[in-house]
Structure formats: structure tokens, C-alpha cells
Subunit: 137 residues, 6 copies
């Protein structure tokens, strides 16, 4: 019996959308006010989806306290109250769009999650803009 469990965490961060290989005008045209050189910020809501067998001894797919700690240690502590562009090495050469942040979080969690589990990441940049990686079916 396989099920999916979802754990929600959050972090608050500053960022700026910018492609350094483009000139200022192109960046402004493509990214608009998200290109503001002084940065802006968001309350990011993160939902980590883990699928696997329900363990008959515990009734758990995975211990949610352990999953929460894994996310906090590997993602939240790195991203919370930070400037994604300046403070987080993964974005030194990667534009911190919601899509790319979701991919980075997926990779950080995937590296620590036991191989028996399937993983997906949902990231809410605002209530009205959110992403899922890998893609939803």
C-alpha cells in the first residue's frame, strides 16, 4: 500500500531575477519589476511530497518529524532570511526564479532522502504563483 505524504515549511527571502549575459534593457524587458537591482522578497511556502509504502509497524510512509528536520536542516536553514542571489551558493550562477528554486530544493532534499522514496517539490512564491518540480501529471 503506497501513499504520499506532504510536509509544509516556509522561508522568507529576498531575490532578484537577472540574466548576467543580457544587457540591462533586455533584463528589464523580460523580468520587469522583478529585475529591481535592490531586490524584493517573498514569504515562500514549500511543500515536500514523499511517496512510498506505508510501513505496517509504524503506519507511516516516513516519520514526518524526521522529514521536517531534513527539510529544515538542508533547505530552510540555508534559505530563510537570506538573499538568494547573494547568500546562497546554488544561485551564484542560476537565476532564482520559482522554477529554479524548486529544482535546487529538489536536489537538496533528494540527496538526503532514502532512495526508496519518490519525491516532488511544490513552491509557492505567492498565493497566486506557484510551481511543481518535477512536472505534475
Amino acid at each position: 500500500m503506497r501513499a504520499t505524504v506532504y510536509r509544509k515549511e516556509h522561508f522568507n527571502a529576498a531575490h532578484r531575477l537577472h540574466n548576467p549575459s543580457w544587457d540591462m534593457e533586455t533584463n528589464q524587458k523580460v523580468f520587469g519589476k522583478c529585475n529591481n537591482p535592490s531586490y524584493h522578497g517573498h514569504n515562500y511556502e514549500l511543500v515536500v511530497k514523499v511517496s512510498g509504502e506505508i510501513d505496517p509497524d509504524t503506519g507511516y510512509v516516513i516519520d514526518m518529524k524526521m522529514l521536517s528536520e531534513l527539510i529544515i536542516e538542508n533547505v530552510i536553514n540555508k534559505f530563510d532570511h537570506k538573499n538568494l542571489n547573494l547568500d546562497v551558493e546554488e544561485f551564484k550562477d542560476l537565476n532564482p526564479t520559482a522554477e529554479n528554486i524548486a529544482v535546487v530544493i529538489y536536489n537538496l532534499v533528494r540527496a538526503k532522502l532514502a532512495a526508496q522514496y519518490d519525491l516532488k517539490v511544490l513552491l509557492y512564491e505567492t498565493e497566486r504563483n506557484f510551481v511543481e518540480y518535477p512536472e505534475a501529471k
Copy 2:
């Protein structure tokens, strides 16, 4: 690297559930208070899901401002502060259930969205009743 982006918009509309090929009694029995001839209404919350490759230059699956504008121009401007039965031609001969509204919205967005993208539509009629088209996996 494929991801899914979600954009949420909303519209407020009146509607009435009714099958003109049935008599009043059958309509009343099947649709109950939703059959009220003077109409009732909802705050519809619409979530448009678009799946595709993350563009390495922008970090976007699709520009969310453009997606939002596409939805507003083709769906919201047509439906918002309208009576779906009386004011929206797509429902002249189609019962405006949440399911059918979702199908109509899917077709309106699909016609304008580049073919490379996969599309799904979620429509919340209330917090407790909502639909997805095409069906969820």
C-alpha cells in the same frame, strides 16, 4: 528539466443549473436549489496549470505575467461580473456546472497557449466543491 507552473485568477459570476430538455420537476429534482430561475452566484477561483521545459535563459517555464494576461483577456474579461447563462455564449446550450465551466476555460486557454505546453484547469466553485479538467492522475 520539465516543471509545472500554476497561476491563480478569480471571477465573480451568477449562474443557474438547468437542462432545457427536461421539465421543471426533473430540473428541480436533479439540480435542487441550484436550479433557482432567478440565479445565484459564486466567487470562482481559477488555477491554470502549465507544464513544460524550464528555459535555461529565463529560468521560466512560461512568463507568469504573460500567462496571467492570457487568462484575463480570454477568460476573466468574458466571465467576471457576468451571468454565465445569459451573458456568455459558450453556455447558451451548455449547462454551466463547474465541470462544464472548466472544460470551456480549458478550450479558451488551449486555443491561445503555445502547443509545446501541457495544460490543466482547476476551478473552485466554493472552498468545498472544485473540479479539475482533464482528470487528475
Copy 3:
């Protein structure tokens, strides 16, 4: 020891903003798309606030099941899945703005609520537009 209890209910209704003593042009100018002659609609969220002494025998300000029934019988059954302009007598000569709906609901509940209680009504027309009557302090 006085406390305030809040009970949330909801109803779905159609309405149209219109002042019959004005011409069409003025109505259109003042009420914009809310003046649509075919109506539009909302999921109204209603919060009824009742203040009074905490009864030492029950630990209740008021029995919330009784308060809920009072609201359902006197407000929800009258308003839900209705056209406020056409189906609800209180709006025959009263424009069903959120403010006026809140006043009407206040009067309907006040007439049935024991005199020992203080009463206020909050009405959410949308998540972003809501009203309180009598005014908030």
C-alpha cells in the same frame, strides 16, 4: 467575565448594484460592472460576533449550535442560492451592497438574539472586500 464568540456561516447568492432613482448612465458610472442587469454573484462568508458573560455552568457565552441554527434559519435559508434583488424582500427597495446586506443580517439576527448579548456582523463579499456593522472600534 465577558467574552466574544464568533460563528462563521456562508451563502452563495446573485445580486446587482442599482439605484432605481438614477438613470442607466449614472448607475453604470457609479457601480461599473457590478451594475450588470443580468446579475453576477458571490460566495458570501458571514461571521456573527456575539459578546456576553461566560455562563459558569456551561462555560459558554452562548451555545454555538443554537447560534448556528439561529443564523441558518433566519439568514442562510433566506439568502442561500437566491438572487438578493429578486428573491429577498428586504432588498426590494434597498441596494444589496455588502454594507446593506450586513445591516439586514444584523437586524434579522438581532430580532432573534436575547437582549443580554451584544452583536456585530462581518460579511466577506470576496477575500479582498469585506464589511463590519456596526462599525469596528
Copy 4:
């Protein structure tokens, strides 16, 4: 044309996580404060997902009022304001984790739902911990 409809219901219940084949120390270590012998409780939010063809006569996948009644009769009336461990027979020998509660609800609804429909169950134990059964794709 196949779509998915979602119906949300809720129930409030007490529970305790416990494996009777383990000693107290192991239970405490694995389940932590969820193992409290006097129980704790939750406002469970339940979302039932039903997929099927949109009926051309009604515009419905399934009548949501009937789906709601099916859930209330077979799940809510059994679980609401109950102690899951003590009052609900399905958990006499089954640990009432969110995963197992979702499986039990799935089986209760599946037994009553016409075979033509696909079914999934989402159960929110808190806003931050929730599960889906069968697993999400």
C-alpha cells in the same frame, strides 16, 4: 470527456499513535508526544477526489450533494467527535496515523461508490501535515 471533482468535508477527533506489540519506551521513541496515553486531537480536513466521465445530461461527473451525503453517512458520522482508537472499530488493531486513516476512508468510500469512478483521498491532519492515498503521481 473525463474530469475530477473534489469534495471537502471535515471531522474533529481524538487519537493516539501506538503500536501494542512494542514496549512503552519504543513507542515513546518512535511516536514522541503523539504517543500520549491520554490522547490528543485534530480538526481533520478530508478531500475526496472522484474521476469519471462528464454526463452530457447533467454536466456532472457525479452529483456533489450525493457525494457529500455518501461521505457524511459513511465516514463523518463514524469519525466526527470520536476517539479514533476507542470508538472506531477499524482502528481496534490499526494505528490511526494519517496514512492509515486515509486508507480506511478510501475503503469506506470505495465500497459505496459506483465502480465506474476512480477514487483518491486526501487527508489533512494539520495545515502542515497531510497525506494522499493511493499515492500521488
Copy 5:
């Protein structure tokens, strides 16, 4: 310049409404399914409102991290994952209605909060039932 700050915390607990000076029948009649002898439970959402001067040096009414810690140490650690009737001494002779829980929380926070601050407590038992103590104006 005086302002009000709000801090939201939560706890999950079991409880039962019961007046030991009444017979079983009266308890059943007054408290209905909330009187279930095996208990039921809730996800309680707690909002603590603190009013005072904005400190010109910090720009704070009160340090929210300190307020959060005060609430966690004095309320959440006492109530979370507990049975209010059995595990929390304040309810040994007090019926744990939402109103009485709010009064108890008010007293616990008031005892630790500097006298210069005004205090109010909002407690959400469910999304649809909540209380404020002292009473709202």
C-alpha cells in the same frame, strides 16, 4: 504612537465538554457530541494580541521572537498533544470550552507579560467557531 501586534501559534489537543455536577442526561442534552466520554480533539489556532507604544529604538511594540517564546513556554508546551481534561491542571475543575481555554491562556500570558502591555487572546477551535477574551469592542 501605540500599535497592536498579533502572534499566531497552534496546538493540537483532545478534550471533552462536561459538567460533573449534572447527570449524564443533562450533559448529553447540553453538550451533545462534545460530551463523548472518550474525548474528541482539535487543532487550536491561538492569536495573542499585545498593544503598547512603538519603541523608537527598535521600532517594535514587543520583540515577536520573545513573545513567541513566552507563549510556547507558558501555553503551547502545557497544552500541545495533551488531553485538556486529564493532563492540564487548570481544567481539573473547569470545563474546557473555547471560552474557558481562552481565559486560562489569557491568565497564563498576563502573568508573564510586562504590565505596560494590554493583552487579548483569540482562540480558534475550528475555522467556524472562535472566541476572544476579553470581549471584542
Copy 6:
């Protein structure tokens, strides 16, 4: 007949808490991770409360479309996708705590709102931390 209307808007901004008359160590001690020199950010939710007479001709306390435009022109356009410390002159010498941001917004709206109206401002920095100015009663 006086009522209160509420209009909700939002903006996304970066900020940093810092008192320039203190040394680095004191700033770090008082403001913790909110003192990060590279900034962090939030999705701010703003609720503007306006109290006044219900106009018998319109049924409005105030035209919500005009209130929304007033807020967007005078607050949102100034704050959205900005760095409050660097881009907004009001915070050149004022620490952008939630309390101070609420005061600044109050002053900006008060200057444009007709004198007959009472005004309050609620600002949500996160779902769990929010402020009201002037203080709640």
C-alpha cells in the same frame, strides 16, 4: 448608520531591520537573522479599514474601487517589488519593522482619505506575525 469596510491589497518587498546608531553586535543581538545585511523579504498583506456613514444613495461607506485605487497609487506602487530600506524614502531614517511600515502606510492613506472617515491599517508580515495601527480596542 456607520459601518466599517475592509480592503485587502498586497506587495512583495525586501527589507532589513537595523538601527544605525547601534554597533553590529547590538543589531545582531536585537534583530537576529532579520538584521542580515543582504536583506530578506516578505509577501506583505495589507488590510485598510475605513469607517463611516453608509451613504443612502449608493449603499456604500466608500467606493471600494476608489479605495483600492487610492491604496495602489499611494502605497502599493511605492512599496511593491522594492527594497524598503534602499528604495523607499520614508525608511531612509526609519527602521522598516512591521509596526513602522503600518504607521507609514497609515500616514500615506490618511493624507489622501476624506476627513469624514476613520482609518486603521493592518499589516501581515507573515501569516503568524501581524500588526494594527492605531492600536486595536
